[in-house]
């Protein structure tokens, strides 16, 4: 390994890295909805923090406390308004509300609303229009718990646009939803895009490139499935650690591109990144798994296929574009190689950001985490160096592509 190239690569990647400003994590209020079908009734209980009812102008005493004597009518009106908004349906039929009541919790922090609906004898699925609320200019998410049995209610989390949630969706609904969500994840989670840039930046043999892509997709699939089936509990601190590790793999890949693009350790690095990225993506599926109803496996499959196929598509596009550019000459080849610098630099920023978020959780300090991560990678690189010395040299008979290969091909 050329030490000067290594140092140059590290300097270029690190240029302009500055710490971002920190932000505090405050506990957020949540509106909770409990839906329980029982025979020919379905009961719905809502627990709303009083803050989300500020718009209702609930009557208050001169001291600012809620006026207990006058609040019943206002709460009843609020309850009927919320019930009207819920639009509880069985199939396509709007359900009539048979009973409604509203009260305050003892500490006056929560408004409790109880609704009762009569349901028909047919087995059409129940659905409701759920939406987030507002408190002090901030969005307050809604968690709807559909109580199938006493063991595990299904929780539907709504934090964006209001949507109709079917509590027992059909397979086709599950397929459509999770393919859409998978594509949204593909477009929003861009760490893989940075890694893909590192894959296509230097000119590699087809075998090495395909091997790395396969390792990336395989590692990702393993990661997604591991988290999605609940085998790996992912707390916020663990999630941030995984995400930080994923972008650190991109940094290492960028350095590798500049120092030793033909390294035999490309596919293990891709596998490592894929695994970390998959764990992160899998956690997002877990938060949406309830929307699959009884077809969680189908939803997971749709999600996985959408993401993996989408990434194959992106990588194929990038590789083709890079190949076309390289034919323009040496300058173009160097420009494509510089994409690795961009990917590495961006990943360094993200690493610092995520490390700071992790530090704010109190699990570990920023400096300590970065030190541990750096030492871990250093140990790994050292081990690979030792293995390189022990393992036989790569005599696979393949001609390594050089930077001028494309030029020579043009001249033939």
């Amino acid at each position: 390994m050329n030490l000067r190239r290594l140092l140059t690569a590290v300097l270029l990647l690190s240029a302009g890295i500055a710490r971002t400003s920190a932000h505090n994590v405050r506990p957020e209020p949540v509106v909770e909805v409990f839906v329980k079908p029982t025979g020919d009734h379905v009961t719905v209980q809502l627990r709303l923090p009083i803050a989300v009812l500020a718009d209702a102008n609930l009557p208050r005493n001169p001291d600012g406390r809620l006026a207990q004597n006058d609040i019943a009518q206002a709460l009843n009106l609020v309850a009927r308004g919320i019930a009207r908004d819920l639009e509880f349906q069985q199939g396509d039929d709007l359900l009539a509300m048979s009973a409604v009541s509203a009260s305050l919790s003892a500490d006056e922090e929560l408004a409790l609303i109880d609704l009762d609906y009569l349901i028909g004898p047919d087995r059409s699925p129940l659905s409701a229009r759920l939406r987030p609320f507002r408190a002090g200019g901030q969005v307050v998410r809604t968690d709807a718990h559909y109580i199938v049995d006493a063991r595990a209610p299904r929780t539907f989390r709504i934090a964006g646009e209001p949507e109709r949630v079917t509590f027992e969706p059909a397979p086709t609904q599950v397929l459509g939803r999770f393919i859409r969500r998978g594509i949204e994840v593909l477009l929003s989670a861009s760490d893989y895009f940075l890694f893909a840039l590192c894959l296509i930046a230097p000119l590699r043999s087809r075998r090495a490139f395909l091997g790395a892509c396969t390792a990336l997709l395989a590692g990702q699939a393993i990661g997604i499935v591991s988290v999605s089936v609940g085998r790996l509990p992912v707390t916020p601190a663990v999630l941030l650690t995984i995400q930080a590790s994923a972008v650190s793999a991109v940094v290492v890949a960028a350095i590798q591109d500049l120092v030793n693009p033909h390294s035999r350790w490309l596919w293990p690095l891709a596998l490592t990144f894929g695994l970390a990225n998959g764990l992160s993506i899998g956690e997002r599926f877990l938060s949406e798994a309830s929307f699959a109803g009884s077809y969680v496996a189908l939803g997971l499959l749709a999600w996985l296929i959408a993401i993996e196929l989408g990434q194959v598509w992106v990588i194929a596009l990038l590789a083709s574009a890079a190949g076309l550019l390289r034919r323009r000459g040496l300058i173009a080849q160097l420009a494509v190689l510089a994409l690795a610098l961009f990917a590495g630099h961006t990943s360094l920023h993200r690493l610092v950001d995520r490390s700071e978020l992790l530090a704010e959780l109190g699990a570990i300090t920023l400096d300590r985490f970065l030190m541990i991560l750096t030492l871990a990678w250093a140990c790994l690189i050292l081990c690979t160096g030792i293995l390189e010395a022990i393992l036989p040299a790569r005599g696979d008979g393949l001609t390594r592509p050089s930077l001028t290969d494309a030029q020579n091909a043009e001249n033939v």
Binding site: D55, L58, E161
Partner: protein
């Protein structure tokens, strides 16, 4: 004898392969984009809220009954603007109801009680529901202040132009707890629990004014 280029069989096969590869890649790109657009078109929910502020909402996210009122308000606005141009002042809701302008005039009885409030260049048409559990609606119209330069924003749901060239800023607001709204002029609706309703996300280059 002029020189002729003779292509070997290998070169011809290589060109064919490359042509197939390029066409396949083009097909891959087009099909990928087409699939994505089709999926977006079929998406009834989605995450368009990410482009809106917490007090803003797209009309399609409302229940059907409220979407009807929103559409009726947008349609009725044209008649209101016509009356404004004719009379040089904003008409009273009762006059609009007499002319059968929806939603100020309702065939099925008094669903809303409409009132007009004005402060300076801003006019509010406030509709309080007969059923207090239903939402209240408000049509807010802002005329330009005197001696202000013309607004360069393109005409859209928010920006209308009267025949005399006056550019108006139009906003439709909804208050979820209509029975708890006090009649009166609303200066800062977003601070009083009102939700701004759009047909489409506002143009980020010309954001709604306070």
């Amino acid at each position: 004898m002029s020189p002729q280029e003779v292509r070997s069989h290998g070169q011809a096969a290589s060109s064919r392969r490359e042509r197939v590869a390029v066409l396949a890649l083009a097909g891959l790109i087009v099909s990928g984009i087409g699939f994505y657009l089709a999926l977006r078109a079929s998406d009834t929910g989605g995450n368009s809220q990410k482009n809106l502020l917490p007090y803003q909402l797209l009309a399609r996210a409302l229940p059907d009954s409220e979407q009807q009122i929103f559409r009726a308000l947008r349609r009725g606005l044209l008649d209101v603007e016509a009356e404004r141009s004719r009379l040089s002042r904003w008409p009273e809701p009762s006059a609009l109801a007499n002319q059968g302008v929806a939603p100020f005039a309702q065939d099925d009885g008094a669903q809303f009680r409409w009132q007009r409030f004005q402060t300076g260049a801003t006019v509010n048409y406030l509709g309080l529901p007969a059923d207090p559990s239903s939402p209240a609606w408000m049509l807010a119209v802002k005329e330009p202040e005197p001696n202000t330069p013309p607004d360069p924003a393109p005409l859209d749901d928010e920006h209308h132009k009267l025949p005399d060239g006056t550019t108006l800023h139009i906003y439709v607001w909804m208050h979820r707890f209509g029975g708890r709204v006090a009649p009166g002029f609303v200066a800062q609706p977003q601070n009083e629990g009102w939700t701004q309703v759009f047909s489409a996300p506002p143009n980020p280059l010309f954001l709604p004014r306070d």
